[in-house]
């Protein structure tokens, strides 16, 4: 029976040396699924003592790799003892700042900062609160907001991969050319995130508006 003896934290969690925080978290979750006390995979494979040791090692690995300082110290130790080549850590040591939850493409981050900056301006601030204050959110409202922020549809496509035509249909309230509701909701959420407005309100408001628009005029 082999345990984790002589394995470093990266090996224990089966991670490459440059794994980011999300990967560490995922690996930790997977390890718990396999080595946890109630796991079917290893049911009665280990004695309680062995399992305790394994879980402890997994925990230590996780907490070290999640903590920037501890991880840097640990990496240095690995390098000094010749267990790992410094170049393998390249990405990690260069970027010690808290990793974003999702490795965002450069454009996205620019856009984020841009919108953040822009929405501090008084007229835009007002427009946002006006739009969000309404019960119904029409495509025109979203379009107005986007234009006020100075964002192109193509930029939104770059980040969200929602096709330009779909985005245009949403903005133009083209009720007959909209994607299925489940997609529409997710698209609206992404759009709201980019415009940095409340996603839930955007989705609810837009769906309500569309529902009204679909209903035949009463008379």
């Amino acid at each position: 029976m082999k345990t984790f003896e002589n394995q470093n934290y990266y090996e224990i969690l089966k991670l490459p040396f440059d794994a980011d925080a999300v990967a560490v978290q995922r690996a930790y979750r997977e390890a718990l699924e396999i080595y946890g006390e109630n796991s079917l995979v290893t049911y009665e494979l280990f004695s309680d003592e062995q399992r305790g040791d394994l879980l402890q090692a997994i925990d230590e690995a996780y907490h070290t790799l999640m903590d920037e300082d501890k991880r840097a110290t640990y990496n240095q130790m690995l390098i000094h003892s010749g267990l790992a080549d410094p170049s393998l850590f390249a990405r990690k040591t260069e970027k010690p700042a808290a990793a974003p939850a999702r490795p965002a493409p450069v454009k996205h981050r620019d856009l984020q900062a841009w919108v953040k900056q822009k929405s501090k301006e008084e007229p835009i601030k007002q427009l946002i609160s006006e739009t969000m204050g309404k019960d119904l959110v029409a495509g025109d409202d979203l379009k107005r907001l986007r234009e006020a922020l100075g964002i192109e549809i193509s930029e939104i496509y770059e980040v969200t991969r929602i096709s330009a035509s779909t985005l245009r249909n949403i903005e133009a309230n083209q009720v007959n050319n909209l994607p299925a509701e489940v997609f529409l909701k997710s698209f609206l959420k992404s759009l709201a995130q980019i415009l940095q407005v409340d996603p839930q309100r955007t989705v609810d408001g837009y769906l309500k508006y569309i529902a009204l628009a679909r209903r035949p005029p009463r008379k």
Binding site: M1, K2, T3, I34, L40, V41, T42, Y43, E44, L45, F46
Partner: protein
């Protein structure tokens, strides 16, 4: 005259075999030798996981592909492979070989309704057959290795009795069956560990290890002996043999099948078990595949039909065929084999 000649030939072969592999046990080297049948023991610790069902269906599918297959019911004291094969009361089987009524094991094999598939029953063995004598077991294993066919499937009993383990270890790539339930998985791990320890003991007792190590292995009363204890002993008294021991144990391979797989089961369970076993055992593990649960299996057993032949288009039968692809001998039957020898 012919019989005498045959016997001599058998003896000679026995000698060559032993000679060919020196101090190492000849049992394990068998599959590599030319013209030797591929032996697939099917074990798995827990009862009721489908060992016999799987043996019977794999045997039938292999025979359909043109391999000459012999199925041996080695669930001594719990035989029911004949029922799965639709044979109501098989004539004598292993008993006739063990009590020396027949000299050669192939003489007690009976044909089934599937061509190329023969069957050796243990139904008529005495009630005490489960505790097979050592000499009888050795004789039986030798005879199995010499059967003139392409593939031999050994349907083993539940539990980790050392006879079961020895039959399992006639191949270096035995198959164990379990179902996705804690009880079956628990027993499967127990079975693997027991097979492991047994193998380790075999290696030590059949090779030039230090006397203290050998004594520790031969001391039958020492039940609590564990794998790590043995390795420690070797490290202490026989450090030179450590690598040999590790290499030998690494050659033992385990393959497994997950039976009665339901839709609700985690579809990655097999791969996960494989990964974790490869990580924590010294032997390589291979996952052969899962077999879908099908309610009609009970009906086919009741009507004494083989499920995979009765419902060849079912998901279960497709799963079976995927496993046969991996298990069946690569060469197709060469019927001149016996003469060539």
């Amino acid at each position: 005259m012919m019989a005498l000649f045959a016997q001599c030939r058998g003896m000679c072969r026995g000698i060559t075999l032993r000679g060919a592999c020196g101090a190492r046990e000849f049992v394990t080297i068998a599959p590599q030798l030319k013209n030797m049948p591929v032996i697939i023991p099917i074990g798995g610790g827990k009862g009721g996981v489908g060992k016999s069902f799987i043996s019977a269906n794999l045997g039938a599918l292999m025979a359909k592909r043109g391999h000459r297959v012999i199925l041996i019911d080695l669930d001594l004291g719990g035989s029911n492979l004949h029922t799965l094969l639709g044979i109501k009361s098989p004539p004598g089987g292993l008993d006739r070989f063990l009590d020396k009524t027949e000299n050669r094991l192939e003489q007690v094999a009976v044909p089934t309704h599937i061509s190329n598939l023969s069957f050796i029953s243990s139904l008529h063995c005495s009630m005490e057959i489960a505790n097979l004598y050592h000499a009888q077991k050795v004789k039986l294993i030798h005879a199995i290795l010499r059967l003139p066919c392409d593939c031999i499937l050994l349907d083993l009993g539940a539990g980790t009795h050392f006879n079961t383990l020895d039959f399992f270890l006639t191949s270096e790539a035995g198959v164990f069956v379990c179902t996705p339930e804690p009880t079956a998985i628990e027993n499967a791990f127990r079975f693997i560990k027991a097979a492991y320890l047994r193998k380790l003991k075999q290696i030590i007792s059949r090779n030039a290890f230090h006397k203290i190590v050998k004594d520790a292995v031969q001391d039958g009363g020492n039940q609590a002996l564990r794998y790590t204890d043995l390795v420690d002993l070797v490290l202490k008294y026989d450090p030179g043999m450590e690598m040999f021991l590790r290499d030998s144990i690494r050659r033992l391979q385990f393959r497994f099948i997950l039976n009665q797989f339901r839709k609700s089961t985690d579809s990655t369970l097999g791969e996960k078990i494989k990964t974790v076993c490869n990580r924590h055992f010294y032997s390589p593990f291979e996952f052969l595949g899962q077999i879908d649960f099908d309610e009609r299996v009970t009906d086919s057993i009741l009507s004494k039909n083989l499920f995979t032949l009765q419902y060849p288009e079912s998901k279960t039968a497709i799963d079976f065929r995927a496993i046969v692809d991996q298990l069946a001998p690569k060469r197709v039957a060469s019927h001149t084999m016996v003469q060539v020898r």
